[in-house]
Amino acid sequence: MKKEPVRKVPCCSVCGEPAVIRQRESGRHLCGAHLAADIEGRVAATIASERQVAPGDCIAVALSGGKDSTALLLLLHSLFSSRDDIRLVAVTVDEGIHGYRDETLRSAEELVKRLGVEHVTVSFPDLFGETLDTVLQGREEQACSICGILRKKALVTAAERAGATKLATGHNLDDEAQSVLMNLLRGDLMRLVRNSGADSGGRFIPRIKPLMYIHEKEIAAYLMVQGTWSDLPECPYAVHALRREVRSMLAQIEYAHPGTMLRLMENKKKVETAFAGKPAREPLGSCRQCGDPCSRDLCQFCQLKTTLWG
């Protein structure tokens, strides 16, 4: 019988079981069970410190069926399913991306069924009259900008239909750090200090990001140990995105200098604090066409609508 060579596996810093992840900032190794406990604790701490959820809230959880939104729904379900004073509703947008969205939609439907969570789905054809694939014909270079604006509008519509008081999205630490860097690269200070999670006085549904301090890799490992990981296809339009370049660059810097992403987020907080109530923040007005809250004459959606459909 073949003798297996003995090669040591790094062990969990808490219990000594084989580790599934090394947290690079601290150098700590964690097994599947302690990774799950660690992530649940940090998400609960983010929700509490950022005051993201209050008793009586109905949280619309943006669920695409991809890894981040799947982890978000699992975590919020684990934290709040036993609470009578908090309601969870999953909201899904079907943009109409051939060969990509069908698979993630199936995954989303299976998850809500398994958890017994209410589910509201809206589609681009229902809301805007055509699929994203059709909208983007000849405009592929602008795919992420156009999709971002239409998807945001669709998500808000779905959240309103669900009667939500909060809209939770699955943005993770990597996404958020990339956004900080992208806003700096674009010189967009207004967007850098904008806080869409702030109390809106009822003018819009505040957006919350409970995974904002969890690395993308931790989320992937969390899903793998829970047995809910699916190797889904990449969005076919992602190749056109500036984010793709920023993601790769930032990942290289994070690898060489662990903690870079967290430091970017800390600096964003400092800038937000420094600009709180200052004139650098754009005053919130109303869109002259649709009445939605916005800081210019027309909201982004109405501007895009004019460009796309006249």
């Binding site: 790094p10 084989p18 190794h29 990449e234 992602a238 990942a251």
Partner: protein, 102 residues
């Protein structure tokens, strides 16, 4: 010849030496069973690479392939491992891409 490094062929015979594998037209270019072991690296696009059997941290193996360890997860023989795990022998390493964009 002293001081000259001769590279071995696929069959373990140094270049320039008679090799039953390389020199036999019936066997030349055909993979024959080898007693040597090698690690198998399965990349996210499902291509398979052979990366030698010498023990090395997963992190080094990934870096040699131009893969940033923080952008992937790796399983060894079906079990999730950290990038500072030592792999070697005939281990099978599967690289799982974690970012899907969109």
């Amino acid at each position: 010849m002293a001081g000259v490094v001769r590279h071995k062929d696929d069959f373990g015979y140094p270049a320039g030496m008679p090799s039953p594998g390389r020199d036999d037209p019936a066997l030349y270019g055909v993979r024959t069973p080898s007693t040597r072991t090698a690690m198998k690296l399965i990349l996210p696009d499902r291509t398979i690479r052979t990366v030698g059997s010498a023990p090395a941290p997963v992190e080094s193996i990934l870096k040699r392939e131009g893969i940033n360890p923080i952008e992937v997860m790796v399983s060894r023989n079906g079990k999730l491992v950290t990038e500072d795990t030592i792999a070697g022998g005939d281990d099978e390493l599967r690289v799982i891409r974690i970012s899907h964009g969109g």
